[in-house]
């Protein structure tokens, strides 16, 4: 069993070493400095071995200090640091049910058990023993670190640590039993997760409200019982015939690959075509031709993230505006406050429109579901095609984003007219145009940076630092503008002129450069 653990650690260290050397030799900034073959250097290997051990130990300690620190800090705020051991043990129940290791899929398990053929039972048991010892030591160490606040005696600390790690082992077995019966993990059952969280929540509330204290004797007996059950669970796990089969199911190549690209999968899920959008009303495609046909289908199949999402925002804005109007009609005080508030925080329109605009998610959908595939066809990369598609896309994206903007602009004007802040007709008109200009600006902006800085590579990874910087700057400018105050007329004029200039320059750039920049990295 320990040979298995040793082998597994050796693989971890070799993997850490190889990743380090790969990063060193493939880093563009260090290009030319580290060019040799370092994979067989013994001295470097030993250094990385120790470095990786120290780093993983520090990582574990840091995480535990953070976890304990948060609990203690919250208890300190509630003036209940004396309830620490009870709260900690209650939280352990959450860990027992929802955070077990044996049935967690992972690349390490895939390599060791599936690829290299280690025994799944031995592997699991070795890790349980390792985690058991490691967690007792770390919990004790960290609790001692915080003991100037906790005031616990060393025996109590040891007993709490023992109970918490024993409960974790019991949890491992209970999870295997659940998987055996229902062929799914506890964590995937919404009912169980919610139940556990509600029960533990109630227990925590009672502990804090009633200052519940576990007597030492209970703690002592509890530790003996939990240790006994943990040993029993451990024996059961070591003999569980089905465990190798579960390992294969949970750590299959496809599962691991999906997990490895979790970020990508999350992004893909965000732009996934909903089943109800598969069917398109044939009337919508009647008389559509070429790029128009292609784009109509694209946007119809992505209704969920574009049209429907814009409608939801529009509805939400509508509700807020109607609410504000009712308040204004109900009381003059509210009318003044709301009117003054809007005038004072006009620049906040930028950040509101930033969040409402669908430009960012739709360009992501364009790449993941469409351009990523289409750019492998030469006909799709012709300058004429790129510009035609850009124009069609810009029309639709702008149109969809205009709906919430129209409601927001119209609503703002209505509120201002009804409130006690009379502006001139010109100011109302310009403010309305400014809202529309911001909406068009964002529609153009996201599409233009997508075409000019096409940020993804063939594997859908974000590769452009410029794109990240521009995205960050967009957010930063919108956010920072909320700190400034402008007269309505000045604000509207500034926004309209800036948006118009930006749109003109951006479109010229796309027309001149997009055929060079819009390609797979």
């Amino acid at each position: 069993m320990f040979k298995t653990l040793k082998k597994s650690f050796e693989i971890d260290i070799v993997s850490a070493f190889n990743s380090f050397v790969y990063a060193l030799t493939h880093n563009k900034l260090l290009k030319g400095i580290f060019t040799g073959n370092y994979y067989q250097k013994k001295g470097l290997k030993t250094f990385i071995r120790y470095l990786s051990l120290v780093l993983s130990f520090l990582r574990l300690v840091a995480f535990r200090i953070f976890y304990f620190g948060i609990i203690i800090y919250l208890l300190y705020l509630l003036k209940r640091t004396s309830c620490f051991k009870e709260v900690f043990l209650a939280l352990t129940i959450v860990g027992m049910c929802l955070n077990t290791d044996t049935l967690k899929s992972g690349i390490k398990k895939y390599y060791n058990v599936i690829l290299l053929g280690m025994d799944a039972n031995k592997y699991s048991c070795a890790y349980i023993i390792y985690s058991f010892i490691r967690d007792i030591l770390l919990n004790t160490l960290v609790m001692l670190t915080f003991n100037s606040i906790l005031h616990l005696d060393i025996v109590t600390i040891l007993l709490i640590s023992l109970i918490s790690v024993s409960i974790k082992v019991i949890g491992e077995y209970l999870n295997i039993l659940y998987y055996k019966k229902y062929n799914k993990k506890v964590i995937t059952s919404t009912f169980l997760v919610t139940t556990v969280l509600i029960i533990v929540g109630i227990i925590l509330l009672l502990i804090v409200l009633l200052k519940v204290k576990i007597p030492f004797l209970f703690l002592f007996i509890g530790s003996i019982i939990s240790l006994g059950l943990a040993i029993l669970s451990f024996i059961k796990i070591s003999k569980e015939d089905k465990l190798p089969f579960f390992f294969k199911q949970i750590n299959s190549q496809s599962v691991i690959m999906a997990q490895e690209s979790k970020n990508m999968t999350t992004r893909e899920m965000a732009v996934e075509i909903r089943k109800k959008d598969y069917h398109i009303d044939p009337r919508k495609l009647k008389n559509k031709h070429g790029y128009n046909y292609f784009n109509t289908i694209f946007f119809e199949r992505h209704k969920a993230i574009l049209q429907r999402s814009a409608l939801h925002f529009t509805f939400f804005i509508g509700v807020v505006i109607i609410g504000a109007i009712i308040l204004i009609l109900f009381s003059d005080n509210y009318a003044k406050e709301i009117g003054d508030g809007i005038i004072k925080f006009l620049p906040a329109l930028l950040i509101i429109m930033y969040f409402i605009n669908r430009g960012s998610i739709i360009t992501e959908a364009m790449f993941i579901n469409c351009d990523h595939f289409m750019l492998s066809f030469n006909f799709y990369r012709e300058p004429k095609v790129i510009l035609n598609l850009f124009k069609e896309r810009l029309k639709i994206v702008t149109k969809v984003n205009l709906l919430p903007a129209l409601v927001l602009g119209g609503g703002l004007i209505t509120i201002l007219i009804l409130s006690t802040n009379p502006l001139s007709i010109m100011e109302y008109i310009l403010l309305f145009i400014a809202v529309i200009a911001i909406s068009v600006f964002f529609s153009v902006h996201y599409l233009v940076i997508y075409y000019l800085l096409q940020p993804y590579d063939v594997n859908l990874r974000m590769k452009s630092i410029s794109y990240s910087i521009v995205s960050f700057l967009t957010y930063f400018v919108c956010y920072e503008s909320t700190h400034y105050h402008f007269a309505p007329l000045n604000f509207s004029l500034m926004v309209i002129i800036a948006a118009a200039l930006y749109i003109i320059i951006a479109l010229i750039l796309v027309y001149k450069r997009a055929y060079l920049t819009f390609k797979l990295r």
Binding site: I273, F373, N378, F379
Partner: protein, 234 residues
Amino acid sequence: MKLVVENLTKDYGDNRVLDDVNFTFEEGKIYGLIGRNGAGKTTFFNCLNEDIEKTSGDIYLEKEIRFPLKSKDIGYVIATPKVPEFLTGREFLQFFLDINEDKIKDLKSIDEYLKMVRLSKEDGDKLMKDYSHGMKNKMQLLINFIDNKDVLLLDEPLTSLDVVVSEEMKTLLKKKKKEHIIIFSTHILELALSLCDEIVIINNKKLELVEKKNLNTTKYKNKIINALKDEKDV
């Protein structure tokens, strides 16, 4: 029509993958491009297709006059088929036919095109997101066949197809070769021998024609394998 490669060199950093490659491909022939793993077949295709920048050298298409080869002259079927998954097969074909209707000779109906690659009407109405690897490959091949570019680059295109479709594709390729230059990259020597008119190996960073002359298949096969072996293997 000829595809002329002159002094083509491609480096990745310090690593030279193609070194002063000179070769002429002729119309009416299917060239089997064979090389060992990592020999540079895909790099060669990517250079032709302008997917990567070549370090030096020139690539021309020679008809009545000689002009630089551009990606618009090439149909490129990549090993991992990529088709827009938000469309059905039928919608994809419809779109493609719409935008190329003035260029396509002998325009057929969508069902006829689907039939060419043995895709049923029902398959045509499925989102390509739900297609198998082989079905996606068929769509990719079909689009490139309809597109009818002067040069057709095929990177391991038949390996994921079932035997029936694979045979039909081979027949289609043989028909296509008359007015095209087809370069077909594969690791399967038997496939190359059964389909291709010439075998070109990529070895020691260069392209080299393996002449058949009067050799029978077995001897020719051995000659190709020997040509691909380097000193370490001997």
